[in-house]
């Protein structure tokens, strides 16, 4: 109850006209920057940080919190409407969001679903944060390199669910994604690898241009086939009003369970060191596979959008637990935010809640408010955004091309980004044409470096012993068992089926 009183106090701190205004401004700007491909939340928060200079500390922190938070909303927009994920967690959103907007012709509902789920997930995350924050942060510390290694292995097995109709091809690209991700500076040895003497490759292949290319630019190339197809255009226009975008009661009922589940799951993933929102969104989506879905995931299912968007925002909220209670940022964005908070004399860390309760609870309260504001603003702009889909494809093509170029340039501040975008776009197009789905490649590209780094750290700590990695602690033992079950179940099922003991018809 003490926390409740403190949170209430936090709301009192935030509820001034200026703070509410700052929160609104932050939510609005964060949303727009988040929606721009290539900027993403890290650069977005860093670029908007100077805005906070103009205010007093409390207002500045409220603005900062709102910026960070609403950024997470924006990534879904371009993913759903244009199939260009604005940031890495949105890769999952695009899987169902884009088909729902185009094939199912329900773009408004897709955006609505994403935002509503984000809001639900975020709220769950913040409630958990407000009441369990410091305890959660301590629990997260128990996940050392060994535990993270196995957790990430568990996460990687679920890529198997994404590979679609042709598992071999899916795994080929998964492995290719891992190798591409290993190019660049190797952290543990401090030396470059696979850079082939190229100075640009020393810094590795950047994710944002890579994803803009593989998904977005490949999409533009594909759109060239459809641009003179009149039938494609007319279908969408009829539902472009806000009324046509509203969700039915049945829809909301469908969204709620995955959103709540993912909200809780996402919060805990967000707390883990270095796991971040992408892993959260990914696991949220993977878990959704295990539940009954009205439509199969990947074909434009609302539950798919809800599961990953809720987990994404919950993880963003969960990441605040180690950030505030321990001063440990879970991601690059967290690090920039930490820098911003410290600039204002707020020292996140073990002493924060004792020394500066006003600031700390004010920040948490402002996250709640920013969450609501971001939802309202997002809903307000949906009708405007939908107009994008009314634009004829042939006009859209050059515009998206420009966005791809500018977005990838902005990530590296150089043509290196544009060239990565172009190459990965052309490859992505060729892959998709040849029956290779690219989604698993993007995910392995994000997760594999985390896995490798944690695994190598775990081996250093264990002195090269494999058993000490997998059975390092109670947590890692449990995770290892989960991992083995996940790996062995399909194998055993296949064997049983072959021998005729099990006659399942639920095969894909």
């Amino acid at each position: 109850m003490e926390n409740f009183a403190l949170l209430f106090h936090g709301f009192q701190v935030v509820f001034t006209l200026q703070n509410i205004g700052a929160c609104l401004l932050g939510a609005f700007l964060g949303l727009i920057v988040g929606a721009m491909p290539g900027i993403g939340s890290l650069a977005g928060v860093a670029l908007l940080l100077p805005l906070t200079y103009k205010f007093n500390p409390t207002t500045a922190i409220v603005l900062l919190g709102a910026l960070y938070y609403s950024n997470m909303y924006g990534g879904a927009f371009s993913a759903i409407l244009l199939n260009i994920p604005g940031d890495s967690p949105a890769v999952m959103t695009a899987l169902d969001g884009y088909p729902m907007a185009t094939v199912k012709k329900r773009p408004g509902q897709a955006l609505f679903t994403a935002n509503l789920a984000s809001c639900i997930g975020g709220t769950i995350g913040m409630i958990i944060l407000a009441f369990l924050g410091p305890a959660l942060a301590d629990a997260g510390l128990h996940f050392g390199p060994a535990e993270m290694t196995i957790l990430l292995l568990v996460a990687m097995t679920s890529i198997g669910w994404l590979v679609g109709s042709n598992p071999t091809n899916g795994v080929v690209l998964t492995l290719l994604g891992i190798l591409v991700a290993s190019i660049g500076m190797d952290l543990q040895s401090g030396s470059p690898r696979f850079n082939f003497g190229n100075v640009y490759l020393l810094g590795g292949v950047k994710f944002i241009p890579f994803v803009i290319g593989t998904v977005g630019f490949a999409q533009v190339m594909k759109l060239m086939d459809e641009k003179d197809d009149k039938a494609k255009e007319s279908g969408i226009t009829e539902r472009l009003t806000i009324r046509g975008s509203l969700l039915s009661l049945h829809d909301v009922k469908r969204i709620l369970p995955p959103a709540i589940r993912s909200g809780i799951l996402g919060t805990f993933v967000g707390v883990l060191p270095g796991a971040g929102a992408t892993t959260g969104a990914f696991l949220g989506y993977a878990v959704q596979r295990a539940f009954k879905n009205e439509e199969p995931l990947g074909t434009g299912a609302m539950q798919g959008i809800a599961a990953c968007e809720a987990a994404n925002n919950a993880a963003a909220a969960g990441a605040f637990a180690p950030l505030l209670a321990l001063g440990i940022p879970g991601s690059g964005t967290g690090a920039v935010l930490l820098g911003g908070l410290m600039m204002w004399g707020l020292n996140p860390g073990p002493l924060l809640f004792q020394n500066e309760p006003d600031f700390a609870w004010g920040l948490i309260a402002s996250l709640f408010i920013a969450n609501i504001f971001a939802l309202m603003i997002a809903l307000g702009v949906i009708p405007m955004l939908l107009k994008i889909l009314a634009v004829p494809v042939k006009v859209l093509i050059p515009i998206i091309t420009v966005v791809c170029i500018v977005g990838s340039y902005s990530d590296t501040y150089s043509f290196y980004g544009v060239i990565i975008m172009l190459i990965s776009g052309v490859c992505g197009y060729l892959f998709e044409k040849s029956g290779y789905s690219t989604a698993p490649m993007l995910l392995s590209f994000v997760l594999a470096p985390l896995l490798e780094d944690n695994m190598r750290k775990a081996f250093v700590i264990s002195g090269g012993s494999t058993s000490k990695v997998f059975f390092n602690s109670a947590i890692s033992t449990v995770l290892t068992i989960v991992f083995c079950v996940l790996i062995l179940t399909p194998v055993i099922r296949a064997i049983l089926k072959k021998t005729g003991i099990l006659k399942g018809k639920k095969t894909k």
């Binding site: 890290l42 650069a43 928060v45 860093a46 670029l47 940080l49 510390l141 128990h142 996940f143 050392g144 390199p145 060994a146 660049g184 500076m185 952290l187 543990q188 401090g190 030396s191 470059p192 190229n198 100075v199 640009y200 490759l201 020393l202 810094g203 590795g204 060191p273 270095g274 180690p322 321990l326 001063g327 440990i328 940022p329 690059g332 690090a335 920039v336 820098g339 020292n347 860390g349 073990p350 002493l351 590296t412 501040y413 150089s414 290196y416 190598r456 750290k457 250093v460 700590i461 002195g463 090269g464």
Partner: protein, 324 residues
């Protein structure tokens, strides 16, 4: 057609707006007349960027230079592309190019590329940082003496730290102690915060950190300094109890982590003198001193030829240590 013309015009104006700048101040025979490009090889918000911005702000607030300085982020190739570009900048542009250059930039540069300090004109060194080893609440050992005893008994000990400078310090430490890497091991993290996480969670025995990143944990009693990796004990209240290695009968291990500024090799003498003077004045401002104390950095002021000599010497020592 009018609309189109207006847009093109707007585009041209937009381009022009950011490429203009006028100045009137004079000293040492060189006056900046164009925009100055200050290259930062890490992303906005990082340590190098904050250092750069602080100096820029200090110069502006105190009217040290009227030049319009624009920070250019050239982060490709882990920063090597930016460093290569600056080193080869020539003609008039060389007088208008600066580069933030730290010991953490120098080491990977000379290790992984053929670029050397000789390809630049070092302007200044303006701050220095040193590391300490810390234990956490859950550590098995409570002092450096216990750690050394454990090493003698053949126990395995793991240190977590950041990359770059920290790895170099670690290498010097194991060389001085004469222990194998498999016994006193090191895991590198992207930033010190990752190392602190591992220490707080009890996954490693020791953590290497600079004072600024660790101070609040020391204050909260979550971490305790056990060894100062410097030639003298630290002076601050929180860290003064940490002994140096010489107190245990070894040579001290110290790898100074400095922050500095360089210019292209082709910068003219007059411009070089001008910028060294500007940086020197900036280092004397209250703003810059506040930045140092806030980040737990120690002042280390070397300008012009002194900075050049220091960086060259540092490079020589480092190259020798990696056998290159």
């Amino acid at each position: 057609m009018k609309k189109f013309a207006a847009i093109v015009l707007a585009a041209l104006v937009a381009v022009a707006l950011f490429a203009n700048g006028t100045t009137e101040e004079a000293s040492s025979g060189f006056t900046p007349e164009k925009d100055v490009s200050w290259v930062c090889t890490s992303k906005p918000g990082g340590g190098s960027d904050i250092f750069t911005t602080q100096i820029k702000d200090a110069m502006k607030a105190n009217g040290i230079t009227n030049a319009n300085i624009v920070t250019d982020y050239i982060t490709d190739g882990s920063g090597e592309v930016g460093r290569l570009q600056v080193s080869t900048t020539n003609k008039a542009k060389a007088d208008y190019t600066l580069l933030t250059f730290n010991s953490g930039d120098l080491m990977p540069m000379v290790k992984n590329t053929d670029n050397r300090v000789e390809n630049f004109r070092p302007l200044a060194i303006m701050a220095v940082d040193k590391q300490l080893l810390f234990i956490g609440e859950q550590s098995k050992y409570s002092s450096w003496q216990e750690v050394m005893d454990a090493l003698k008994n053949g126990q395995k000990i793991v240190i977590a730290g950041s990359k770059g400078d920290d790895i170099e310090t670690y290498n010097k430490l194991i060389a001085e102690l004469g222990v194998a890497e498999s016994q006193l091991s090191y895991i590198a993290n992207d930033a010190t915060s990752g190392a602190i996480t591992s220490l707080l969670g009890g996954h490693v025995d020791l953590c290497m950190s600079k004072p600024a990143a660790a101070s609040q944990y020391v204050e909260a009693g979550k971490m305790k300094p056990v060894l100062a990796l410097s030639n003298n004990r630290f002076s601050s209240e929180l860290l003064k109890d940490a002994p140096t290695l010489s107190e245990f009968g070894y040579n001290n291990v110290e790898v100074p982590v400095w922050r500095g500024v360089t210019a292209p090799k082709a910068m003219s003498d007059s411009a070089y003198a001008y910028w060294a003077e500007c940086l020197k004045k900036a280092s004397e401002t209250a703003e810059f001193k506040a930045y140092l104390s806030k980040n737990g950095l120690e002042p280390m002021y070397l300008f012009g030829a002194e900075a050049e000599a220091y960086m060259l010497d540092y490079q020589k020592t480092y190259l020798a240590s990696i056998g290159k």
